[in-house]
């Protein structure tokens, strides 16, 4: 492949062995993407710091040995350890060491130890139109959809290769024409009260991911004041059940002032009219069990924001949870809560705070099996396979009422 001069120099080893290795991988991936052109990236978010086995550690440590240093501001996703409170994680000895070695390797390459899957709420907010290289499926969909930055759904390893070279193949969602919606989701027929409850957004996301795969859709009919945490929940869920890397919400997201703008002034390839039945079916598919049994409540996938903690405290209203109630978040949010003096309120309510990691990526939860309740579409999707729990999905209010009662309680009234 013919390369522009800067990429050719890196490939030839002029930027050191790690940059050359990263460039070899990127050249292969550019071939796969069918492009000979490159974009300069402004930032990266790296997901490769989560332990999946010794192979990932060998990869990162080879880059460190090759003097790899990131060329753009780079944040880090969750690792397999809570470095702040190591006792939170029940990982066995060797795995524990590997998890920390992997996290250290990425820090040694100059990445910022943010350890969060919500970097966009930890100060890493690329501007609309900026090319970036992000991994972590929920962060990708947020960067593209809510911020209007341009990234593909990069896998582990591609993230750090882009960061070490400062470039990415010019393909996919880096190209404005690929960002146009081709499907119109018509949600205008659904009642306004449905959109007022936060739990409908991860449900809509789960439906969207199954319906679309990797297609880009524009959703028409959502409230203009929808708010960032609801868009975050929608995207994370869609990126779990599907391969959604970008969605538009008419009148809300930056590339969709109107439906026609999101569609690039062309007719949609298809229109799907959303019905209440479709929403109910998607909601019901998120739970794997019914009944009242409850063993654990887990919140915070993606990582809880400061505002979500406030909503949790309001819902708890001074009451304590009868079952273990885990909330996963990043240091950015916990530091803000600490400054405000409300961290102790959470701990007094029996909330178990997990930072730097989360309860489905590493062993945290004390019961090996049982029923886990969550308001997160992503936890609902992954918990059965990753930690072996049955799942009950509910709103934040449902989760809190259930935690306080020690049994599953769900209010169906907002779903009609």
């Amino acid at each position: 492949m013919h390369l522009p001069e800067s990429q050719a120099r890196l490939l030839a080893g002029e930027g050191g062995e790690a940059a050359a290795m990263a460039m070899r991988i990127l050249v292969d991936m550019a071939r796969v993407a069918g492009t000979r052109e490159w974009v300069a990236i402004r930032s990266a978010h790296v997901d490769g710091c989560l332990l999946h086995g010794a192979s990932g550690v060998a990869f990162a440590e080879r880059l460190v040995a090759g003097a790899g240093q990131v060329r753009v501001p780079t944040t880090l996703n969750v690792g397999a350890m809570d470095l702040r409170r190591p006792d939170n994680v029940r990982l066995a000895g060797t795995q524990r060491d590997l998890a920390v070695r992997l996290m250290n390797a990425y820090v040694a390459m100059g990445c910022r130890p943010t350890w969060t899957c919500a970097p966009y709420q930890a100060g890493h907010r690329p501007a609309a139109g900026e090319d970036v290289a992000w991994a972590e499926s929920n962060a990708v969909v947020f960067a593209n959809s809510v911020l209007g930055a341009r990234t593909n759904r990069y896998g582990d390893f591609m993230d750090i290769c882009c960061a070490l070279t400062g470039c990415a193949p010019r393909a996919g969602l880096h190209l404005p024409e690929q960002r146009r919606a081709t499907t119109r989701v018509d949600a205008t027929g659904l009642p306004d009260r449905l959109w007022r409850q936060e739990a409908v957004y991860p449900v809509l996301g789960a439906w969207l991911g199954r319906e679309l795969g990797a297609e880009v859709a524009v959703i028409d009919g959502l409230p203009a004041d929808i708010g960032e945490d609801r868009l975050k929940a929608l995207g994370a869920s869609a990126a779990s059940t599907g391969a959604v890397a970008l969605f538009h919400v008419a009148g809300v997201t930056p590339e969709a002032p109107t439906v026609a703008d999101a569609l690039g002034q062309r007719p949609p390839r298809r229109t799907v009219r959303l019905t209440l039945d479709m929403i109910h079916a998607a909601r019901d598919a998120m739970s794997t069990t019914a009944g009242e049994q409850l063993d654990v409540v887990a919140l915070g996938s993606p990582h809880f924001s400061e505002q979500e903690f406030d909503a949790l405290l309001r819902a708890l209203d001074g009451r304590r949870s009868r079952v273990p109630l885990y909330v996963c978040s990043g240091r950015h949010a916990l530091a803000a809560l600490e400054r405000r003096g409300v961290l102790s309120d959470l701990e007094d309510a029996g909330v178990r705070l997990v930072a730097d990691t989360c309860v489905v990526v590493t062993p945290v939860i004390e019961h090996a099996a049982g029923v886990l309740m969550t308001n997160s579409g992503k936890f609902a999707h992954y918990s059965p396979s990753l930690i072996g729990h049955e799942v009950v999905f509910g709103s934040l209010a449902d989760c809190v009422e259930s935690a306080v009662a020690g049994r599953v309680m769900r209010d169906a009234s907002g779903w009609q």
């Binding site: 796969v32 999946h52 990869f59 390893f157 599907g242 396979s385």
Partner: protein
């Protein structure tokens, strides 16, 4: 399309990662995220909601109409290949950068070169079993199946 054991057929497709590999065909009936869907140690499908829950991808020619989910899929595939528990080959019906990347990095790290090829989706439905894929050629060349 040849029956098992008959002579070689040449299909037009794209070689995303070159290599040779053969084994029984495992055609996924629903899309999967390798992270959260396949165990990195055993190669088994661990998602209880997947119709082929419990099946192993190890040493199979894995045909995927499309894949979904986590960007950690590359890491899971690398770990499987590093442990010698990977698929023998991957046949995609839709380009998938995450799995392809896992195979590219595995080759860079000196593990087995597992071919990844992209075929027209209808061809995925007509693949024989067992199946051997010879994708030694350069990208864009035809793919020999036998």
């Amino acid at each position: 399309m040849p029956a098992a054991g008959s002579e070689q057929a040449v299909l037009t497709g794209r070689v995303l990662v070159a290599g040779r590999g053969g084994g029984p065909l495992l055609r996924l009936e629903a899309p999967i995220s390798f992270w959260g869907g396949v165990d990195a140690g055993t190669g088994r499908i661990i998602d209880p909601r997947h119709p082929q829950h419990g099946a192993s991808v190890t040493a199979q020619v894995l045909a995927l109409p499309r894949s979904i989910g986590s960007s950690s899929g590359s890491s899971i595939l690398l770990e499987l290949l590093a442990r010698g528990r990977g698929p023998a080959a991957i046949v995609l019906g839709e380009a998938d950068q995450i799995l392809t990347l896992g195979a590219v990095v595995a080759r860079e790290m000196g593990h087995a070169a597992m071919p990844v090829v992209l075929l027209e989706p209808p061809l995925l439905q007509r693949l024989p079993t067992p199946l051997h894929i010879d994708a030694e050629g350069r990208q864009g060349r035809s793919i020999a199946l036998s």
